[in-house]
């Protein structure tokens, strides 16, 4: 078992799984039809990426578990999703702000992973980065439009940024897994992605007329699994219910 690679692939796959699930909660409820289509499309991309990352994790683990086993049969403490993606949808503005903060990191991460020394990681990243670039264009445009828009939309977007900003920093924390990935040339050290992220966020928030909170504080605990949010457990009760209620069944 390659435990560092397993851990790394779970982090990537759990982020896309949890965010994909959250985005899919919007089904049929978006403010306009075009957004219904775009949200379903984003969720679909993220679930597709989850299948690849958790497939790689299952392979690295070598214990005969599948991507579905990892998604549907692990409990909260074994998840490696960052706290940002676990946050509830809130209003549409909060959902799109969460998406933008995630996308701005995700594009930088996937872009760096294209040149990974690990062929499968590089292949997954090369495929996923095209989707992530479309996601970030769309989430940035939406944040800009609603930040700059009406008095109400501006106030709601500022509230969303203020609420979510303390969750944006967790993805840039380096730990021993990250160091092992960097030493093998598999993945960049997370902290090295921060300047590109900051530059993009500053540009988008300036166009949105939104104020980035003046704090470096970052909530942590999701990526390492040490302390997830309360929200994740509720999500899993729904996501995993069929598999757990009917353990012998094939679907």
């Amino acid at each position: 078992m390659d435990s560092d690679l397993f851990e790394f692939a779970c982090r990537m796959g759990d982020n896309t799984l949890v965010l994909g699930h959250r985005v899919s909660e919007w089904c049929g409820l978006a403010p306009v039809l075009e957004e219904d289509i775009a949200l379903a499309n984003t969720a679909l991309d993220l679930i597709g990426q989850t299948q690849m990352w958790l497939g790689l994790a299952a392979q690295a683990e070598g214990k005969d578990r599948s991507a579905d086993d990892l998604a549907m049969l692990r409990d909260v403490w074994d998840f490696r999703s960052v706290l940002l993606v676990e946050q509830p949808n809130g209003d549409f503005g909060q959902t799109m702000m969460r998406q933008f903060l995630f996308d701005a990191w995700h594009v930088a991460q996937l872009d760096a992973l294209k040149t990974s020394s690990h062929q499968q990681v590089s292949d997954i990243a090369s495929k996923s980065v095209k989707e992530a670039m479309y996601h970030v264009d769309r989430s940035a445009d939406t944040v800009i439009a609603l930040g700059d828009g009406s008095e109400e939309s501006h106030a709601r977007m500022q509230a969303a940024l203020t609420l979510l900003w303390p969750y944006a920093g967790e993805v840039f924390e380096d730990d021993t897994v990250d160091q092992a990935m960097a030493d093998k040339g598999i993945a960049p050290l997370p902290s090295t992605l921060r300047p590109a992220f900051d530059a993009r966020v500053r540009d988008v928030m300036a166009q949105s007329t939104l104020q980035i909170p003046d704090t470096e504080f970052a909530h942590k605990g999701g990526k390492t699994g040490a302390r997830h949010s309360e929200h994740l457990g509720h999500m899993l009760t729904q996501m995993q219910w069929l598999q757990r209620a009917y353990p012998q069944a094939q679907w």
Binding site: C27, L33, A40, I47, Q51, F92, L146, S150, A249
Partner: protein, 325 residues
């Protein structure tokens, strides 16, 4: 069939123009938005295409009910792709309706305040994962029965929308049948879910074709205009003839003791669904009418600030561009 009981409009226009219009339809020509058309043709089409579009939109809700509980990543992805297609169908259909001089927002308001309908089938709840199979197999199956002939409908934009929609609907029906196959050949609990889903959706699926021809007062004008291509009973018979053998293949029992092959008509005999229930659902008393409409109204109301904010931004951008020039 996503449009039911569409009231057709009487027409009192110049008989020569009407005759020339009918001659074009009889010759198989397509009517395009800028062509002359009787008011009744326009109004009936707005009602029918609008109802069809609304059905696609409301139809996201019973399936969305299971996206977050889909049992595997692949099933979740397939269901998301399907629901995304449906929202896309709604979009083409609203665009087709807009060519007749009504805006999407006007149609949406008529849905939300109850002046326009959507298909009765979406007022039924989805209670188990097998319902995702039954909706694809039976509901999309019934919709295809109606939509395949509508590819040849006389109104160009509607016909072209149907051609695109049909390609995707056949994928939807196959994925539904695939879920049913897994369930019907699965554990005893899964088989029970599959049979229960068929029991609950059989009658409502038959009702999707609308009331019996003898009671269908709006059909003849619409058929002459090629807005409606087959009668309700013809399509219902075709659906039963296709579906009964599929149920047998699955090892499931159609919940109708009277189903039997009839050599003389080369089709199955079957019992009429409960028409009293159909009219109850149409009149707002289906199991989920209130919830579905409340969910759409809430989405629209909650989204008002987003739509207003987007408009305000577009307006500011335009003003900044003007100022710069």
């Amino acid at each position: 069939m996503y449009a039911q009981m569409v009231k057709s409009e009487a027409t009192a226009e110049d008989p020569d123009k009407l005759a020339a219009f009918q001659a074009r339809i009889d010759a198989g020509e397509k009517i395009e938005p800028k062509d002359w058309m009787p008011q009744g043709y326009r109004k009936t089409l707005i009602r029918q295409i609008g109802q069809h579009a609304h059905s696609e939109i409301v139809g996201q809700l019973p399936e969305g009910n299971w996206i977050t509980r889909a049992p595997t990543l692949e099933r979740k992805a397939i269901l998301l792709a399907k629901v995304q297609d449906e929202a896309g169908h709604g979009l083409y259909l609203y665009c087709a309706a807009e060519t007749l001089g009504v805006s999407r927002d006007e149609l949406t308001e008529m849905l939300l305040d109850g002046r326009m309908k959507y298909s009765s089938i979406f007022n039924y709840p989805t209670l188990t994962w097998a319902d995702m199979g039954a909706v694809g197999w039976l509901v999309d199956g019934a919709a295809i029965m109606n939509q395949v002939p509508l590819q040849r409908t006389s109104f160009g934009p509607y016909s072209r929308a149907m051609i695109r929609v049909c390609k995707e609907e056949s994928f939807h029906q196959r994925q539904g049948f695939d879920i049913m196959m897994k369930m019907a050949s699965g554990t005893p609990a899964q088989k029970r879910m599959a049979q229960d889903a068929l029991n609950r959706f059989w009658g409502p699926a038959l009702m999707m074709f609308g009331p019996p021809d003898a009671d269908s007062v709006h059909s003849s004008q619409s058929m002459a205009w090629k807005i409606k291509m087959n009668t309700n009973d013809e399509l219902r018979q075709k659906f039963v003839d296709q579906t009964v053998p599929q149920a047998e293949y699955l090892g499931l029992t159609v919940p109708d003791d009277t189903v039997a092959w009839n050599d003389e008509k080369a089709g199955y005999d079957f019992a009429e669904p409960d028409w009293a229930e159909f009219y109850d659902v149409l009149n707002g008393n289906g199991p989920c009418n209130t919830e579905r409409l409340a969910a759409r109204n809430k989405a629209w109301d909650d989204g008002a600030w987003v739509r207003d904010g987007m408009m305000a931004h577009a307006e500011k951008k335009r003003a900044r561009k003007m100022a710069a020039e």
